[in-house]
Symmetry: C2
């Protein structure tokens, strides 16, 4: 009988889930729609049916021990999703309480997706031997999970670790959160695109990026252009790395991590992003930390990092 | 027989110490010189003699259980003072190891002064019921102690919690640490003085502060002037509160404290500093935190807050 947990990653479009053993091996995985369901109870009913189907297809004997969930605006303390702008369900969703109706016997834990990624990194990724580190997810927005002395920082209300909303510029760019000048408006797949559009307005130099509309341009196209020495794209990475580097230096001054891991779409630019970020981070670090904080790419596989993270959250809970 | 610990606060000029019981009552306290001793071993020999003298003067029977020390650039993990710019002893001082030669039977712990203040606040002050909070000390510099889930954040190398060296301005004011634009160059007793001098250069309005040299002006004089409606002084508090408020908002995004406590010389300005800091902090907070983070003055008595903090560190260690 193999002990397993169920890891669930709630995304705006799809919800992915997997049956994961303690070594991070995925016995079976699948996904279902998120945005098709305007009613949360309907969504949950379907998700439960899909999970049951998935479990039935596993041939070896398993014993499910718990469920871990990563979700946007997920609150660990309350097991809720609260006012998530990218989901159909408004207000406060009592996710774990409602899921308990289907699975009353297993511990069910939920946190935000970046926190889940941090726990995944600790259990299965590059932070296995680390007790103090930060994971930054660079997708549509910028998420963060902060680990101190082996534990994720949840803070007073379960919502700690929102580096995406630290302040880059007074009266700066509009952020989806309603504030001006947040880090994620500058550093994220969307943020670098906004920087490219600003540069195209300011500079007169040629760039292949001038052929794309705002709606069609992706951070991947910006990376590809930078690899071909496109000056606008290269400058956008330099600026993005500077902005991120300075705020990471500030985050280091808070919790002094051993390493910071970058994950997500924009992180796939690799060296293009890492090099300037590391340079500016070091330049802006309190001297006693300088040269001593590692900046690394996550070594979780992008495709299922979030599901792995959610499962790691469940394993972590079971250790308590 | 009453259980007590010895709390020691190493300052640039004086070293204060006290014999403290578990309720924070000081049975006896005294101080000795720090800067008179260029040789650390000589300093320690004298400190030991002074402590012994102090203990002998306590009439009731006591049992000493441990020693806690707060020191600039103190490292909890190693029990060292490392390259403290305001002390005579260069390089790395193995403080706890050397003190153990005098007191081999008691646990001896050391941390930086702001961390000690945070533990003092938790044990004897306004954070008694709190598990997540931050203490900011506003003296010559800006120190910080960050508590997460009831424990002080030491980070990977024991040097976490250096909010004084987060980045306010690119190529900004010179900081004692060698970096440019650090928070403590703007927000501290010295920082507000620098702001006053900048304002006196920029504005032509009358101010009583124009009568003082840089060497004689103190943050207390600036508070006094502000209370008398001096425009330069009032603007200096507004700017100082703005700068601090923004960086506190960023610190909240890291660890989501229940409250932030201000302590030290500049904090004695009270409402003059609290009001603009709170206003700008809230304005720059991620909306889900807005209005929910308390900004408070420490309720430890200024005179012996550091000694109390050091003793609390020792009590905390004994609980482990």
């Amino acid at each position: 009988m193999k002990d397993v947990v169920i890891g669930i990653d709630i995304g705006g479009t799809f919800t992915k889930f997997g049956i994961i053993d303690k070594d991070g091996k995925c016995l079976k995985e699948n996904y279902t729609s998120t945005d098709k369901y305007h009613d949360f109870d309907e969504f949950l009913k379907n998700l439960h049916a899909e999970i049951e189907k998935c479990i039935k297809h596993i041939s070896e004997p398993i014993s499910v021990k718990g469920i871990g969930i990563g979700a946007p605006n997920g609150n660990y303390n309350r097991g809720t999703i609260e006012n998530a702008p990218n989901l159909n369900w408004e207000g406060i969703i009592y996710f774990t309480d409602k899921l308990k109706a289907y699975y009353p016997n297993w511990p069910i834990v939920l946190t935000n997706d970046a926190n889940a990624a941090a726990i995944g990194e600790m259990m299965y990724g590059g932070a296995k031997e680390m007790k103090d580190f930060i994971v930054i997810t660079l997708g549509t927005g910028l998420g963060s999970g902060i680990v101190v002395n082996g534990n994720l920082v949840y803070g007073y209300d379960g919502f700690a670790g929102e580096l995406g909303h630290t302040n880059v510029k007074h009266r700066g760019r509009e952020c989806g959160c309603g504030k001006l000048g947040c880090l994620e408006a500058y550093v994220s797949a969307t943020g670098i695109k906004r920087t490219v559009f600003k540069l195209m307005a300011e500079r007169i130099i040629d760039s292949e990026l001038r052929n794309y509309s705002y709606e069609t341009l992706t951070s991947k196209m910006i990376s590809e252009a930078a690899k071909k020495d496109d000056k606008i794209a290269l400058e956008a990475f330099e600026i993005t790395g500077r902005t991120l580097g300075v705020r990471l230096a500030d985050a280091v001054a808070c919790t002094r991590p051993e390493a910071i891991f970058l994950l997500g779409g924009l992180a796939q630019a690799g060296h293009l992003l890492l090099e300037p970020t590391k340079r500016y981070m070091d330049e802006n670090l309190f001297p006693i930390y300088r040269g001593k904080v590692k900046l690394l790419l996550s070594n979780l596989k992008e495709a299922n990092a979030a599901v792995l993270g959610a499962s790691a959250l469940a394993w972590k809970e079971l250790q308590k």
